[in-house]
């Protein structure tokens, strides 16, 4: 590969990073580099300037909040997430998903915020974050911080509802409810180093045998990671019923691409949903 001779801005504080972001909106943010450096190698991007966020160590943390939820900093890596007992307790499916991203070498550098910012419909953590009702906190030097539910972050294929002077700072997960049952499943060519053909995160809240909250989210079956509202609505008010998986066609729009086919994705999404709901129906 031809070495990039781009400028690099390397802020040490969040305030500096936001100032640099505002004055250099064309500078490409880079954190762990596991997406950006690949794009650079493939010639898909060639910016004149990078905004190097790796030095923002205050954002590399995972914090338990007083309400029992977890806040994951933008520079927290998959490894940090997997090592956090808070995340194990509040969001075990996020640990599961993080362990499927690439391999150890990728997990030691790649960040959760990077998975969100990269905005691939195949992002492994995104259906999990949708299922958990994650909020994304972003900030700008001009307007301060605001929070966006991940379910409203993507306006289209690889497009985020963020301004050019904003950076992701935190990902907030709500506290885990004792009646929540969760499930994660990724289908790829192998168990490591594979971009998903279909990836799924589910959370159902079951009280007295009845579902009163349902989140079914899939990736790689639409231009963005999607919530499957027809399936979710059908789950509400009854026992966890695997048969509602037949409604999935109304919520997904898979295509043929280099990794898989529309037909495979359709069939596999239905099967893994049915299997997941069967599994969840037996949980207590």
């Amino acid at each position: 590969m031809l070495t990039s001779h781009a400028n690099v801005l390397s802020p040490r504080t969040i305030a500096d990073a936001l100032d640099m972001r505002a004055t250099n909106p064309q500078a490409m943010p880079i954190a762990g580099g596991t997406d950006v450096m690949v794009a650079l190698e493939l010639g898909a991007v060639n910016p004149k300037t990078f905004l190097n966020l790796w030095g923002l160590r205050e954002l590399a943390e995972v914090n338990q909040r007083d309400d029992g939820g977890v806040s994951i900093g933008a520079l927290a890596t998959y490894r940090t997430i997997c090592a956090s007992e808070h995340v194990h307790h509040v969001a075990p499916i996020l640990v599961e998903a993080s362990r499927t991203v690439g391999a150890k070498q990728i997990q030691n550098r790649g960040t959760l915020a990077g998975n969100i910012a990269n905005a691939s419909p195949a992002g492994d953590t995104l259906p999990v974050l949708l299922a958990l009702d994650a909020d994304v906190e972003v900030a700008s030097s001009a307007r301060g911080a605001r929070r966006i539910p991940l379910s409203r972050l993507y306006s289209g294929y690889r497009q985020l509802n963020m301004d050019t002077d904003e950076l992701i700072t935190w990902v907030h997960l709500p506290p885990r409810h004792p009646n929540d049952r969760t499930h994660f499943r990724k289908v790829g060519t192998r168990l490591a180093q594979a971009i998903s053909k279909v990836v799924m995160g589910i959370r159902v809240r079951v009280e007295d045998g009845v579902v009163n909250e349902a989140r079914v989210a899939l990736g790689s079956v639409a231009p963005v990671p999607v919530r499957c509202h027809h399936v979710e609505n059908a789950l509400m008010g009854g026992a966890v019923d695997p048969a509602v998986s037949s409604l999935l066609s109304q919520d997904i729009a898979p295509i043929d691409d280099i990794r898989s086919t529309k037909a495979y994705r359709n069939g596999t999404a239905h099967r893994i949903l049915r299997s997941a709901l069967t599994h969840l129906s037996k949980e207590v």
């Binding site: 590969m1 070495t3 990039s4 001779h5 781009a6 400028n7 690099v8 390397s10 880079i30 580099g33 596991t34 450096m37 690949v38 650079l40 190698e41 493939l42 990078f50 190097n52 790796w54 490894r79 690439g102 391999a103 150890k104 070498q105 990728i106 030691n108 550098r109 168990l191 490591a192 180093q193």
Partner: protein, 158 residues
């Protein structure tokens, strides 16, 4: 951009390089510092041939801009030995036939060293999971896994 001076420790020795900051760590190691043990197999973070440790954590050095290792401690395959003794996993590869052509071997050794520092008696399942980021085209992996499982870490300084 004009070159920057980046300082880090390589295999215990302080280094100071003046390079363009987006240069890949892999290229700085191989070209500027002549530590050619780390290999480029894919340039995309898929094969693990470029694996090095940064502050004890395995990374694909083809994906790390050198600007991001300012102040870090880097270990390459050249740095696994101590006091003229090979790392126990290197001994194990020699004893149990873990290498054929050898191109993947530095990456496997470094990745295995990270595993063994945390878990000195891994099972084959643990080894396969830990080394999932390293590809080999020659061996079919079995003797690599056997070598790591059979590594004797006892007596090796942390």
């Amino acid at each position: 951009m004009s070159d920057q001076n980046i300082r880090f420790e390589l295999n215990g020795e302080p280094q100071s390089v003046t390079v363009t900051p987006m240069a890949r760590l892999l290229d700085v190691l191989r070209e500027d510092l002549r530590a050619t043990g780390s290999k480029e197999g894919c340039g995309e973070g898929e094969c693990g041939a470029c694996t090095v440790l940064v502050d004890g954590l395995s990374v694909n050095s083809c994906l790390v801009p050198v600007a991001q290792v300012e102040g870090a401690q880097i270990t390459t395959v050249e740095g696994l030995e101590r006091d003229d003794r090979l790392h126990p996993v290197q001994d194990a590869f020699l004893e149990h036939g873990g290498a054929q052509c050898g191109i993947c071997t530095p990456g496997f050794l470094v990745a295995a060293a990270e595993l063994l520092a945390a878990d000195d008696q891994p099972t084959p399942e643990t080894v396969r999971d830990a080394l999932a980021g390293n590809l080999c085209r020659c061996t079919g992996y079995q003797k690599i896994v056997d070598s790591v499982v059979k590594t004797v870490m006892e007596g090796w300084p942390c």
